[in-house]
């Protein structure tokens, strides 16, 4: 087994360093920002970050295996062992400027292959689907001392994904072509909802989000919804979401956390390699993240963006030049606050006997170790909260340390 640089559960971090970090987090105070992007549909980690140095990789991926850097359609160079999908040019730039950490062979504790249960576990923060009706990020916001105004987080979209549901006050926001409400009508509806335990707080959340959005009008403002056919509209909506996220996070008194999701990662057939279906989706994602950095401006230096997906895909291609549901995959952590320029992986290898159930990349890192590390260092969530409320029954999973720049 080839071992890559790997930080195991904080063991390498001296107590002195820890103290420095805590002090720094306090100094950063309310400026730290966190963006969670959920890639729904199971991203193929072996295509996004191909293990070029693994001798079993070319045989499994056959005609879709990436060649090395410099060759036509070749992967972009990372650390010599892993490469990066050539559609991820912005991420590669971040890697070069030490603002991207790639984590590989990562998985949630879920070991079946249903997207929907897989996403549920990824978001509820336990080991089991449907074990909780609230999400780890909302619970972390409840426990975080650095939360800002009333709305600690915002979800870009009409509704809250499970990861954001829970006791902490959060809101959702989406741009709309519908006319703003008449003030008198709004006052009457507010009265009508006064006794309603669901609608009264929801309406208040919506008004709070609108107020923050309106306050941002001066510095670029919130995006307007875009029309257009098919793919163009898809790309435009991506840009809309990213610009809105940045619009909220730039506000000093605004939410500290933004969440959005993307779909289209379920590549069962004709996945493609340097070109094709997955390449197109990755290029859109990459462009969206580049736009996020631009839109965040000086806030980027205090921001950490985490990209996670519910599980990976089969190590081998299936019979239709795609991949079926698998187990471990990659996660990306990027942003000005990230101590990047690294691939963190305890690489299990792709030899037949190393694969999980003989078919999937095996998991060597529980995604909760990554999530705990980010929440501890970026949002100052205490170890006790992380173990008890945020990720119940997870004391065996030690947080990854040193993910955030000290």
């Amino acid at each position: 087994m080839r071992r890559r640089e790997f930080i195991a559960g904080g063991a390498q971090l001296a107590a002195g360093l820890l103290a420095t970090r805590v002090a720094f987090a306090e100094a950063r105070g309310g400026r730290a920002r966190f963006v969670l992007v959920i890639l729904r549909g199971a991203l193929d980690g072996l295509a996004a970050v191909p293990p070029l140095g693994d001798p079993d990789y070319p045989g499994l991926r056959r005609e879709l295996a990436f060649r090395g850097p410099g060759e036509p359609g070749g992967a972009l160079p990372l650390d010599g062992f892993f490469g990066l999908h050539p559609a991820l040019g912005f991420l590669h730039e971040c890697y070069g400027s030490r603002e991207l950490t790639v984590l590989h062979a990562v998985a949630s504790p879920y070991r079946e292959r249903s997207h929907f249960d897989g996403q549920d576990v990824l978001e509820n923060g336990t080991s089991h689907p449907h074990a909780l009706q609230t999400g780890w990020l909302n619970r972390a916001l409840s426990a975080s001392p650095t939360r800002g105004g009333r709305e600690a987080g915002v979800s870009l979209g009409q509704n809250l994904p499970l990861v954001m549901r829970g006791p902490a006050a959060v809101t959702s926001w989406s741009s709309s072509r519908l006319a703003a409400l008449d003030e008198d009508t709004l006052a009457r509806i507010t009265d009508l909802y006064a006794g309603d335990a669901l609608l009264a707080p929801r309406l208040a959340d919506a008004l709070a989000a609108n107020a923050i959005a309106a306050a941002g009008e001066g510095d670029g403002g919130m995006p307007k919804p875009v029309d257009g056919p098919g793919a163009a509209r898809g790309k435009a909506r991506y840009a809309e979401v990213v610009r809105a996220a940045a619009g909220f996070l730039r506000r000093e008194d605004g939410p500290k956390v933004a969440v959005f999701d993307t779909s289209g990662w379920d590549t069962h057939a004709n996945e493609g390699a340097a070109q094709g279906q997955l390449a197109g989706r990755l290029a859109e994602l990459d462009a969206g993240l580049a736009m996020l950095r631009t839109e965040l401006g000086t806030t980027w230096k205090d921001t950490a963006v985490l990209l996670v997906t519910e599980f990976g895909r089969t190590a081998a291609l299936n019979g239709t030049r795609g991949t079926d549901h698998g187990t471990a995959t990659v996660a990306f952590l990027l942003g000005g606050a990230v101590a990047g320029g690294r691939v963190l992986a305890d690489w299990p290898g792709l030899a037949a006997h190393r694969l999980y159930q003989g078919r999937d990349l095996a998991a060597t890192l529980d995604v909760r170790a990554l999530l705990k590390g980010v929440l501890a260092e970026q949002l100052d969530v205490s170890p006790q909260s992380l173990e008890r409320e945020v990720f119940p029954d997870s004391s065996a999973i030690r947080p990854l340390r040193g993910l955030i720049r000290a």
Binding site: A179, R188, L203, G319
Partner: protein
Amino acid sequence: MADSIAAVIAANRFGLGARPGELALIGTDAREWLRVQLRAPPPALASAELRSSAQILAQALQVRREMQAERKAQSAASLPVDAAQQRLPQFLRPIYVTEVSARVQHAVATERPFLERLTQFWTNHFAVSIDKQFLAGLAGSFEREAIRPHVLGNFGDLLLAVETHPAMQLYLDNYLSVGPNSLIAQRRARHDAPHLGINENLAREILELHTLGVGGGYTQQDVTRFAQVLTGWSIGGEGGRFAAGEPGRFVFRPEVHEPGAQLVLGRRYPDEGFAQGVAVLRTLAHERATAQFIATKLTRHFIADEPPPAAVAQLADAYMRSGGHLPSVYGALIDAREAWLTPLAKYKTPADYVVSSCRGLTLPLDAERAALAPFEVLGQRTWQPGSPSGWPDRSADWDGASALMRRIQWAEAVGARVGSRRDALQLAPELLGANLSAATRQALAHAASASQAITLLLAAPEFMRR
């Protein structure tokens, strides 16, 4: 009073929201009003413009061929290929618009709203999504051909109609799946051509989403073997990725089918070609896990986000006793005590909200594009759940702050459009009956204008729920 709340429940929880006069029509026997809707055969959607999926798909394949030829010619002449790219969407889009418009008009006008809600339930259970190529043109005909005719039939027949429909074969990739030891794969191997093999997408989703449910006791091995059983289930076309044969229709291709018996969920299925897959579907349709899964989903949809176990058990028993006879299962739903309890707490989905508003206000629904807009604006674009699990069915999935704001904004736009042509104060008891609160009645009575009153009625807490 008890009778009148039963009418409100029948019209809203089981139906699509009351039209004026509907509560009076339901009268004192709400259960019988529901049962009557299940007696006659389901109606077909009436519109001369609606075409069969085989016709649509055959034409779409033709358009794609022309598009590919054009693209080749253009790139040879160094011209931009964007115009060619748009040909297929431009062909599919009007079909989608016509289909959605026919469906919405039917939902708003129907006098059998329970039947229509059941139809939409099954379409969502067997979800396809128009974000995949061709599906924008096929989702409507899929519902008309595979779902509607079987809503009052047997689950096993519904299941077979769905899995052999070209839309489902396309959506879950099975038409491409090849048995690793099939004649075609062996021929390819001799020529050292790219590897062919199975695609397990459809097999997995049949087990997980269509029949047994995720905890239904199948293993990865069952998925793989079932996928081998389903090899050869495909779609006729021009050859290439589509089989030869009648374009746009389901075909079984023996040369692609994996030979040999298969062991699925502990049962051996001899190789009888197409019939092997049919036999597995028949078994699945009669499993207790399937009955339990269907019962749970129906109970969640009609009764409560957390389905009462006693009601689930009654529905599952009715399913098993009747061998999956769906009207018997619906009968158990009507008979469930929990279905008739107040409060009406389930938060409407955006689609429910739009349809019930149109029914309640007897809005003249514009045909074509305008019929689509509210569903898109409120976040539930018709036939685009984005994944094979369909739209989620719990309040928390729909009650976001931004979603609520949009509903209210849309209600205000509707109020402005309707103006004084509707009297909200007079309509409110017709739509909400015994569920109309004193606070809402007061707000309507004191509204500043007729249009504001309409907005307040549609925004009222009791109109947001069913």
